[in-house]
């Protein structure tokens, strides 16, 4: 037991580990910024589409034609379904980007200060990002299983 505690105490974070973490942080920050950019773009698209839905419906009717039921769905529940899906997508993308950027910023901060707090912060944000990734993977797995069951029943 005493021997184990001594071993644990000598575990430290050397220059090689610092380099790997700093590099991971740089890439994570880049990916995070892309996520935030896409989230913003999606939000803008959603706002533009929802504010011009009448116009879009008219164009679609002119080109393809549309039944009364389809038009009613598009202007009623369909509009809110679209808004909900876009809001959910933006929120997930934003959270992903937020945790990745925070991880990147924390690793950069650690690379200049070498304090235990900043290192702890880096792993904290990385943990949050991985937790979100896991939750999204669970949702994806549930949908995949549902799709397989649907195909097999059909």
């Amino acid at each position: 037991m005493e021997n184990n505690e001594t071993i644990l105490q000598v575990t430290d974070f050397d220059s090689s580990g610092q380099y790997q973490l700093s590099n991971s942080g740089k890439w994570a920050k880049f990916i995070g910024i892309v996520y935030l950019f896409i989230a913003t773009l999606l939000l803008l698209i959603a706002i533009l589409v929802l504010s011009n839905l009448d116009l879009i419906a008219t164009y679609i009717m002119d080109i393809n034609g549309m039944s009364k039921e389809a038009l009613e769905f598009m202007m009623g529940a369909g509009k809110w379904l679209f808004a909900l899906m876009m809001a959910l997508s933006c929120f997930i993308l934003f959270l992903n980007g937020f945790f990745l950027v925070k991880f990147g910023v924390a690793t950069k901060s650690y690379a200049t200060t070498y304090t235990e707090d900043t290192l702890s912060g880096s792993f904290h944000h990385l943990g949050r990002y991985l937790m979100l990734t896991t939750i999204l993977s669970i949702v994806s797995t549930v949908f995949s299983v549902a799709a397989i069951v649907y195909y097999m029943i059909k």
Binding site: N4, F13, S120, G127, L130, M131, S137
Partner: protein, 133 residues
């Protein structure tokens, strides 16, 4: 100058959290890959499948998923061993795999951004050509 940082209990707890979530995320990615393969098989058996396109996209996405998941799982395994044995070299190995995971994802994003820019560029060229005609 060496700026080694001691791994305090708080940092070790944070690393342990990342180890757990990284393992779950990696395993779920493998499961999802398996489920996608199953969907491909079912689609082929039922005959409603563009075989070439589906198999090609499965191979590409499968390779990317495998590379990323293996690196995430390696990060988890090495970091756990490092915490169990108090070995800094194992922690460096873990972080090497974490770095590879982010590099693969970053390069993927760069390729997608490049393709999108190329698409926009081609669309502009086509629009200019059509307007000039």
């Amino acid at each position: 100058m060496e700026n080694n940082t001691n791994l305090t209990p708080t940092i070790k707890t944070q690393i342990t959290t990342t180890v757990t979530w990284a393992r779950y995320a990696a395993i779920l990615s493998f499961v999802n890959l398996g489920l996608t393969f199953l969907q491909l098989i079912i689609g082929a058996v039922k005959g409603n499948l563009n075989v070439f396109g589906s198999v090609f996209s499965f191979i590409i996405s499968g390779i990317i998923t495998l590379v990323m998941s293996i690196n995430l799982l390696n990060y988890s395994n090495y970091a756990k061993s490092s915490l169990d044995n108090g070995d800094s070299i194992l922690l460096n190995q873990a972080l090497y795999h974490l770095r590879t995971y982010f590099i693969v994802m970053g390069i993927l994003f760069l390729i997608i951004i490049g393709l999108l820019l190329l698409f926009v560029f081609i669309a502009i060229i086509v629009a200019i050509y059509a307007a000039a005609k």
